[in-house]
């Protein structure tokens, strides 16, 4: 199996030709091994014919793997571009180093699982108002209005979140494609936010 692959590797082929030769070599190896298996086995030939696609797949994979491993270490062949998916190696020493690193790290408590949900909801809704389908835009705008009304509830006011919402809506309203609903929401949110920051008696901007 290895010998014909070395024959291909030793040739000064161009990229396309090398790939064609690889396929041809793999097929040759497949045919040869299949023939040898059939000759040495007492099983009926039909059995091998039945298994043919699987044997071919396994052999093609094995041959390609061997070829790629050798090819990657051969300076002469680095010019060849490998098409298809990127290759990712995971080596034992790297895994062992990670295991040691993780074991050595101090145990920390869990991050906040439910944290940031309101903010995420607002931002996603706003995104859907702008980029969603026609039906989703209407639904998202309604939900956005409900959510902001909840945020503006004086009993549950979170100044930091309100400030973020005001900034977000301000940014959104600078765009031409914003529905008028958002402008109304901006009025509400920004107005409330400013009232929070405003000293008593100070003139409203």
């Amino acid at each position: 199996l290895i010998v014909p692959i070395y024959v291909v590797m030793g040739s000064d082929s161009t990229d396309g030709r090398l790939q064609a030769e690889l396929h041809e070599t793999v097929e040759r190896v497949q045919r040869r091994i299949r023939g040898e298996l059939q000759n040495t086995s007492s099983l009926p030939v039909a059995m091998f014919n039945a298994c043919d696609p699987m044997i071919e797949a396994v052999l093609a994979h094995a041959a390609s793997t061997v070829f790629l491993e050798h090819m990657l270490t051969s300076a002469d062949l680095h010019v060849m571009e490998i098409t298809g998916p990127a290759v990712e190696d995971v080596r034992p020493h790297e895994m062992q180093a990670l295991g040691r690193q993780l074991a050595a790290e101090d145990e920390q408590g869990p991050p906040s699982l439910m944290g940031g949900l309101t903010r995420e909801r607002l931002w996603v809704l706003l995104d859907l108002v702008v980029k969603g389908s026609a039906q989703a835009r209407i639904g998202a705008a309604t939900r956005l209005h409900e959510t902001i009304t909840e945020i503006l509830d004086p009993g549950q006011l979170d100044p930091m979140l309100l400030g973020q919402v005001a900034s977000l809506l301000q940014e959104a309203c600078l765009r031409d494609d914003m529905p008028s609903l958002l402008r109304d929401l901006l009025d509400q949110a920004a107005g409330q936010h400013l009232e929070q920051d405003q000293a008593p008696g100070e003139e409203k901007p």
Partner: protein, 493 residues
Amino acid sequence: LIGSGLNILREIALASFAHHLVTATMNLELHSPGSPHVQVNLEALIGSLTDAEQTGVPMPLQLTFGSGQIHHQGKALRGPSLQAGQLLRLCEERSVRSLTFHPQLDAAEILRFLILLKALQHRDAFDRGKIAAAFGVAGIRHVSIGTAEPTPSAEPRDDSHEPPPPGLAGYQALADCVQENHVLALHGRALDVQVVMGVVEQTAQDLMEGPSGLLGLASHDNVDRFTVGHSVRVALLALQVGRAADVSRDELIRVGTAALLHDIGKSKVPQEILFKAGRLEQEEWREMAKHPRLGAEILLEQRELDPSAVGTAFCHHLAPAGLGYPRPEFPFEPSGVSKLVRVCDVFEALTSVRPYKKALTPIEAYTVMFRNEPDFDPLWLRFFVRVLGLYPTGLRIRLTCGQEAVVTGPGRALHQPWVQIQPPSGDDSPPEDGAPAKFEIGEPVHGVVHEIQSVITHDRSVPVGEGDAQILTQHSHGACLGRLGEDPDPLRQ
């Protein structure tokens, strides 16, 4: 060696046939009978019947249904059974306890049979006495059924079904739930939110009482049909980690529901893209990358659903620092739930089998994820690893003594889990050396310290020892991280 190889080929052909049968049942929910998806699947079903015959499976091929599983000659086909809830239910409702398939069967005939099996108005056709007439009218000659009612023509009762493994019903309920809601979403109907939350609540309870059964089953579910298996496993991971994150029961249900439905947007992605075997073209990539936003739109319509599910569907491919997709109109930091589901999503994709890649072991997956640490929230990535450990619950391993075991829970150290010895298949004898069935790795048992020699995946046995410098994997996993320029998702096959 050849004998063992043939046995493996027989098992593969049988499992493949059962998988295609389950998929065919599901396909007829999603598509019209004339759809190319249905035709391709049915041709594959017939192909696997031929494979089964040629590898020596006794013909006609008979599958029996009992104890919540598909069986062949009394042996449970565990992988195909995990997502076979719908087929099993159909058969149970019609009192069908076995199906026998003759090798002369073709795709058109099996289609007629499945339509008859599924169609509600034909339930009567399966009553005793009407079967022959119904089959005659439908032109079904190469499928026969065995009913629960003994008839002169029915085969003798076979009660030698394997008992269901722990957690099977829960796993099937989760899979059913995903399947049914993907179908509802595809047809633009309201999702069954109350059922989803009920199933998630039951799963959370099952995980609390005995996690290893449910989590162990995940390792048998090696075919991802319509992203069902993936969604189930992501939900199991999220519930497992969420439990450790000091949240209330209600919050845990919200997290599990969000995780189970995170990929619902894929129901709107054309199947020729979702299941394409090769690399996606640029235009196909764009279509695929729409699924988070489509998922958020679908879930937004469900008034009963907690809004966290909308955010998670939108954000599960978003990474810190603006990486990932979709590009939000206004950049923001995802919630804790979305960050957790993203970690679960990628870990599941890396550790599961796909047509174009092998499954990584958990430690290999962690290595890839930490190598790409900026793609994740670092706190959640670390917490995830700490909760699961280097050998997560349900993982199959081989010990240095040569015995096979399954991880039953985390131990005191990341690399020293609790394990349970598994007897060889068909062997009920107690473990050798008088060793207890369950023990913690690294702790002496009767003077012997057991260590982990290798991790067993669907298709590999990966040594964990020092000093081995060979390349263990050479497969593309960049896609799992949803990087730009690479396939956006590993699950579209």
